[in-house]
Symmetry: D3
Subunit: 339 residues, 6 copies
């Protein structure tokens, strides 16, 4: 099984612990980005995972590639060139103080890449699944075109295609997102979204939900998924359900809608170590579960357990293996020491 | 709007995380002290804030002044001289283990300062508000006299004066505190206290409250505030209400009593990052809110939200801006990531 | 009062905070092991505590001895020789992710020690109490024999003997454990166990308990203790009761059964800083309490309060003094700052 | 005495110690840039120093401003707006391995600033000296224009103007540098250069020098200075003389040429802690010395001693005071402990 | 070009900076070992490098494999199984205090591997060069047999074979080393040794050299190389020449003897950052240079420059690329900043 | 052999590496003080060493006692009481920048101790040697009296007494030092001084020496020692000879004068890791050497080698054992790795 993901990987600069930006003159320096996170997580599950992007020729970008390699991700189709690697600064929230992201990703190599940079015919040769998120086409006109080329080629070669809507209001408007994402949807089999994405991008709301104050009405999600499937002839829609109690405490679950049936997972009450990449780890869990032939109910449980674990791991990447996910799925989540 | 605060700033030496004292051979070294904390918080709100104290001529004290400057506090009236900067060692508590403070503040420059060191006429020129806490007059006989000179001058020049009772049993007895604070009260407009201070200093108890086991009876506080206002002809009394569930979890709110009306704020359930300076950040929030013309109900909400955020920030200082406070006041406190 | 404990002390290598193994190229390097932990805790209570083991002649083992000395433990009977000091790698769990222990303790000096290495006649001279855990005899055939020599000598010299069952499935089988521990029990006065040990080692189950999902049926424990006392003519049995809600949150209490009476302690809801050594700190608390003449009800409360505090202290060792334990026992556990 | 400097301040990201880029997932995060470094150094000498630039409205830029404030630099004319703060990554060299700089400064707020952003009439009001380096006009066409506006205004208001040539080949070509810098020279009084700058920018070579292999022929520098003074009607030219033995060991001195006389300073053999900002600290020392009325021989000695000390201080900024510089000038440089 | 190396990779635990063992409770945790170091260095030069070993199935060994992957080394033939990964503790020396190594490598998976674990026919398929050091056969009888199988197979398949004598007195006696290494020499083409190895293993001394006091007589080395070539029909012998002035300062060079001609490299005076792996980086440099067709004089210069740079890089691995080596070879080694 | 030392131990707060004070918000926190350093060094040599002082009852002082215990020093006669533990802030110098010490030791428990606090009769029972430095009597009048009581008692009980002059100009004047130290000399057998002490305290100058510029004329020291021995009827005088090239590089040696003969040691060129405590480690080396029966020439070589090693160890304490010292004495000092 081979999965290819395409998008941007950024240098992530974060203060230690719960410090505010530059409260101490130090940044934890790791790497992350939606599609890279999915590839890393899949590699940790033993999947042959490849991440495709464009990165400049400098030591910082070299380190990004090396880190992906460390995680077991195939980096052989990463294009080198362009001016810079994007950066995001992350300040971890605590209690009533939310986490804060400052982007410095404009003019990154991938956002200034051109269609010629990527030969999808050869990149996707031998692959079974292609994954992208709504962040990639939001980077630039060219990035949107490249994504379009990728999904069209993937479809033509018979790959399954998954997309995580991942709406980012700092990157584009809802109108622009609707237009571009709408054009990509015909090539998508599995669509992943959180509670707000479907509304932000396609104007489809969960009935009766009031996300901000943490009250989720699950029934409405079934209806949203149904609308999405009908509108875009999708195979399946997965919606992650996050109830934010505080920056430290979230309840986390998901629904997978397929074949006219909604499968709701168990809900995990989570004490958060690092929330970033939570959605991506869900996507990776879902892809792994579907590729490895789990049924829909198992698949959503696997994906949610995988992403529950992600919330306990520092950094964007979900460094957990299949047996750890299965142990959580099948156990109590009571966190007893493993000696 | 210009606010002047007067008191002691100390070197704060704390082990990392939840380590016990010197469990590892390292101290986080920052600065803090009730009135300095208020000045820093006000500066972060955009107020022209000045902190007045006396500090010795050495590199450690230079760093204290530089840090205040970094926070945007005016340090131009800090007197230099004397022998040492006070120190407090802080061990952060967790769960059932309380935080622990070891003072090494005797013989500090400010505690051995003399009345001649400070010319309040010129210091307070152009200022609108003067703030001090019950810690300053507790430092020494001279410190009490200097504080008296300050409030008398402030009053004469038409400034508003606020005082946070802040009783510290390691610095003086209840009897001495009552005598000295009683002499200062006639010059005070706004008095701030926590659940225990009014009792410790003036023997005024909340009816029916049993603070130690975390059960707060709010009604009693109204009565306490009323008594304080009557006794000292105050304009307003604010009482912070802390329910300590563990060293990690507190519920936090406050009451502002003014014009015969008690305004109780919303209560925030807090997961604590650093509890020290929580009261000071409330004081700063209240001063800011009153100076900027908020009504009483808004003022106490602003002050409580500001100090709720402080509990999530490492160090004595509250490094939050007005928009962050307002976002918390007006939102759910659910701590969702801000991208 | 002098207490001697005997067993293995290991180098403990743990990533910082909640990082996964080698996520960053750094290990916190401390020392720990069941019986060493008990000795350290007793020394912190002011007891004359000695730890006996065998350690190789190298700098790492020297550091282990020095650290014990720092904690006030008598190290004068530690035998030096053999090849290596055992190691355990510890990854701290969070939320739904359990803590993980990787052992590298085979071929340690103590596991390859011989009976001739220890002259118990002289080691135990002047001691009042001897303590060991079920880990020591599990290390090797020789270690079991040395333990047997120790308890027989202790008994002959009139010492009280305590044992913490501490079953470790990675070290031996249940069958082997039952055989060896069964042979040691006749020399034991006070037996300590957690919810699972009595079942694992002696096949005695608490009635109706389902430990994994965190529901403890306390009544069953009384029955287990009774059976143990009858089977081995013990003086007392203590059972620690841990309800694991997550890797961060546990409820913690214990029962002391003696003279046909079960004394259940108060239950502490704990936010965990470091869970390893929790049981050992209970054992130390119990030994201290019994040696210092507390009655059974007080003894179990002291032991539980001591070990509740341990859960808030980084490392294997419980760095708390008697007054801190008593303050918790007699207070609310609300964790208010001590200024 | 008031000095204004104008240029770019960047976030400096450097691995700890002598680690290669991202060998560990951490960056030391400080700030620096030629003209900011000069302002900080002057403030440490007690001069009223102001730094002018443009920075975006985000937390990282806020921290840059706060850090300047901590160093005592006036930041009141810093314009806020634009997209990003420039970054430079620094890997510290050791022995035969040179230090390495990776720039990510394109599209910074200051490089995209416009002439309208700065009203030099009011900024320079009350100032005595204006300083810039050859880096600022190299940033963009606009930056060159703004610099031109600044020097023209400075000259018109009677300020002394100093310029450090500081040629950066990654920012512009020699041809472009010659054209732009040539246009600015008529407004400059004091020109500072290192061994290579005069050649790179104006094609003026020291006779017989072979800088790369560390052999400096001092006599040639006198001739270079003379040519520069004649060509641009300068008041004085200072040339820093660095003999690079290795990344750790440099010999450091300078020459000040004025009134047809060359004053060569003492040469310091330096063990380097941080070499970046060495030239800037020389510039600050020279400005201070000239402003405070030292004669030419003293001035170059002060400037060289100040910058010798800089090489022992981590970060771009020279955190030394006048008495430290004078102690080095007048002493042996033997580095005996000061108790 | 593909190079395969075979040997042991260990966890390296080192205190920070120049701290003595466990002076602070922390270890830098990286990985290293002679042949792994060679593979990593070759990968950094762009060579297709593979490292072969046996490692246990646990998280620590997983991290070793991941780190090799990060460095670009092929890990696909690493056998998983056995009990433990070897450890070496390293205390970095300074000035007159030598570095200190404490081994804890007994019973490692590779030392207990069996001949069946490695199918050299398939491992060496497609490779051009095989490299091992004298450490590998010293690990155990089996390890010696496996090494023998490897070199015999390599020779049969037409690979070049290189060996670094690397005598370790803690692993075996000189007599045993002579016997085993003597049996392997017939399969070796290129032999690498330091000043002492040839004497320790084969009893061949450099004439007139007195290594301990740092005086190297170069002429003697030519004679040693000649003897080795004659005795074992080698193609080439390289001898590294280290003059130890202190733990911080070494002079470093080498000689390559081939076709009856000795080529002495330039000597680099080095300020040491990390000396471990210095010899391995020389080996890698030599293999690269010979494989890429450099002549003998260039080859030894490349290898020495590569290893000179290694001395400036923390950890066992030489993280430098070909252009950095060439820049040093062709430059002055003056360490000027690269902007 | 038992040695008792008496004096002050302080908390030492130092920035990491070569950072200036509070450049980062962190202090390395260790302990040190002349006589404590001697006791620790002796304990590391296997001597039964005891340190006597007075320390307050708080967690910081507890940690000082625990650290001494860790180093193997007997702490059983340390008196607990008084207000505070003294502090010294240390900024490590580099190259031309000298190290800087800021004292905050006034009002420490030992400086305010009284004669009644110490019963020398019982403290010195069974001891063979008593050591103090000129710092202890400089702390206060009482401290001088207590020191006098100690040396008188030591002499009466037949102990050897050694004194390190250690003049500290921040603690007392030369006149006061001469008076007090003059009164203690009659009880001293072995006097240790550096190049400046004899002059500062007793006005005895080395002929022709010019210490500041690093040129030492050794012949003059013989004359100084002779004068000291004659004046105070001493048994032996040792003078340490430090040539300061820079804060990083010193040459270090010593002379022992006894029985009318001067024994000059070898001179070590040192690259300094931590210079503080260098003199103390010499004193400890000398005491050990004399107690263990080495002849005068060997004794001074041992003491100098011991203290040469100290310069390579972080912190005040010399963490080296006898075999390490002997290896340096008998070797080349070339710092080759010990595997």
């Amino acid at each position: 099984m081979k999965v290819v993901t395409f998008g941007e990987i950024m240098l992530r600069l974060a203060p230690q612990g719960y410090l505010r930006f530059l409260q101490e003159p130090c940044f934890q320096a790791t790497f992350g980005g939606g599609e890279a996170n999915v590839a890393v997580s899949l590699a940790a599950f033993g999947v042959d995972a490849e991440f495709v992007t464009k990165l400049p020729c400098n030591d910082i970008a070299d380190a990004a590639v090396a880190e992906l390699r460390r995680q077991g991700v195939d980096t052989s189709d990463i294009v080198r060139g362009g001016k810079r690697i994007g950066i995001y600064y992350l300040e971890k929230g605590a209690s009533v103080r939310p986490s804060k992201v400052v982007y410095d990703r404009e003019h990154s190599a991938i956002s200034e890449a051109t269609e010629d940079d990527f030969c999808w015919e050869s990149i996707l040769e031998g692959a079974d699944w292609f994954h992208f998120t709504g962040i990639t086409p939001a980077l630039s006109e060219n990035a949107a075109k490249i994504t379009y080329n990728a999904v069209r080629c993937a479809k033509a070669k018979g790959l399954k295609v998954s997309c995580d809507l991942n709406y980012r209001k700092k990157l584009w408007t809802k109108e622009k997102a609707r237009e571009v994402m709408g054009g990509l949807m015909p090539y998508v089999d599995v669509l992943i979204a959180n509670e707000a994405d479907a509304d932000d991008v396609f104007g489809i709301k969960p009935d009766g939900g009031d996300v901000e104050n943490g009250k989720l009405v699950r029934d409405g999600y079934e209806n949203v998924a149904k609308q999405l499937i009908e509108k875009f002839s999708l195979d399946a829609v997965a919606i992650t359900l996050r109830e934010s109690i505080s920056a430290n405490d979230n309840n986390w679950g998901a629904m997978l809608y397929r074949n006219s049936t909604a499968h709701f997972s168990r809900t995990y009450p989570l004490r958060i170590v690092d929330r970033v990449g939570g959605g991506d780890s869900f996507g990776a869990g879902l892809i792994y579960a579907l590729l490895s032939g789990k049924n829909d109910a198992e698949a959503v449980e696997f994906a949610v357990a995988a992403s529950a674990l992600k919330h306990t791991v520092e950094g964007d990447f979900n460094r957990v293996c299949v047996s750890e996910v299965e142990q959580l799925m099948n156990g109590s989540g009571s966190g007893r020491v493993q000696r």
